[in-house]
Amino acid sequence: MTTTLPLSDDALAASLRDLRSAAPASIGYGALVEAGLADRYATIPTELGAVFVAWNGRGVSWVTKAGERDDFELRFRVAVGREIQPAEALPNDLGQAITRRLAGDRRVRIPLDLRGRTPFEVAVWTKALEIPRGEVRPYGWIAAEIGKPKAVRAVGTALAHNPVPLVVPCHRVVRSDGMIGQYSMGGPDAKRRILAAEGLDTRWLEAEAARGNRYTGSDTTHIVCHTTCRDARRVTDRHRVHFPSLAAAASAGYRPCKHCRPVSLAGVA
């Protein structure tokens, strides 16, 4: 087929104008996502089953158990106030980072989009990130570490509102009496499951707590730790000593471990 191409200036200009194209919709939405004004989400497998991970150009914005897409999208729009659309998969670097973090690599950096959250909440979540895989700390420990020793209840509330569970391991924070406590991703049972997957014997932990054993010391070093501290778990049975409180440990001449930094919860409501 031969076409007649316009040779006059005006006709040529008109043909050039005809080369205008409509952009695929993904460009505009992609730009909004990169700018952090809209989000995308994809599904990843975890120990707790499939979860939705939402993200934008600033980082991961939301993690929740996978379910009905419409329901999730609606909840996201209401809670976060941004548009969200499904994607095939997470961006490569983000997906790999999350996989490594869930496998226990604490050094991997995962950008988080925590806009709109209070400095207190961010401090609580940041502190939770320091708890190693396979260990737990009480709510009161986080409160003390962030310089708000009396805000134990507020710490619990902040952890319950953690928008990025698993990525920020709020499941590694337990009740100050050593019991497992609540968990936003499916209650205490889910919390036990994820802790077990991380190598923690939760039945043993809860049994110790029931016996009033909150802290573990070594009679050779005279150092006292949280029961799940990796240093405490290296103590041989012959030398292991249990304490119901730090005060009891202190009066027996034990000093707190420098790794897990147990703090006195005496006087805390």
Partner: protein, 212 residues
């Protein structure tokens, strides 16, 4: 451009709130600029999106007064042209000019109004394809001037501003571009599809292979 002035003022007040409007109003033209400079739809998509994101980040760095005074059309065009130039360099690095990779992409079809007869539409598409291919044979500077001035529709002054060159230079480049396009059209008896990356300027058009 009155709507652009109003948009710049809104952006100066709140970049985040007004940015979606900028995206809605400028995505098509930035995509078109990138597509006609590069000839590849995928590259053009990335360049256009990147240009929007860079504009967003730049505005977050600028003081309010500077945003309010932005002339959005030439400013966004210049960001896109620079990104397309960098992209072109990378494409050339990974694809030697002898490559047989198809280098032309007709791009997204503008929404059809349904009025045109199929034969007319087909002929028009053929014309678009030919012209898009010929554009890629212009030197980059001349092609850029033509794309901004005649496809995007910037004024001579806006094109000069976007490219940071004197108006006289742009005028000469546009003139030369139109003349070269016309010359190529005159010796093109049949629809043309380039069989390889841009040949050196001045190479006879017969080197292109006519299809069918």
């Amino acid at each position: 451009m009155d709507t652009d002035v109003a948009l710049a003022i809104r952006l100066a007040g709140d970049v985040d709130a007004a940015f979606p409007t900028l995206v809605a109003e400028h995505s098509d033209r930035l995509y078109t600029i990138a597509l006609r400079l590069l000839g590849d739809g995928r590259d053009a998509e990335e360049v256009a999106q990147d240009a929007l994101v860079r504009a967003f980040r730049a505005m977050h760095e600028y003081p309010h007064e500077r945003i309010a005074e932005l002339r959005l059309r030439p400013w966004l065009a210049s960001i896109t042209v620079n990104l397309a130039r960098n992209r072109r360099r990378r494409i050339d690095d990974r694809q030697p000019p002898s490559s047989l990779e198809p280098m032309l992409d007709a791009g997204y079809d503008p929404p059809s109004d349904g009025a045109a007869a199929p034969a007319v539409t087909a002929a028009r598409r053929e014309t678009q394809r030919e012209l898009a291919a010929l554009l890629l044979r212009l030197t980059p500077a001349v092609r850029t001037a033509i794309v901004l001035r005649h496809i995007d529709g910037l004024s001579l002054a806006e094109t000069a501003q976007a490219l940071g060159r004197p108006e006289g230079t742009i005028k000469a480049q546009v003139f030369r571009g139109l003349r070269e396009l016309r010359a190529m059209l005159e010796v093109a008896p049949e629809p043309l599809v380039p069989i390889h990356a841009p040949a050196s300027a001045g190479q006879p058009l017969r080197a292109l292979e006519a299809v069918r």
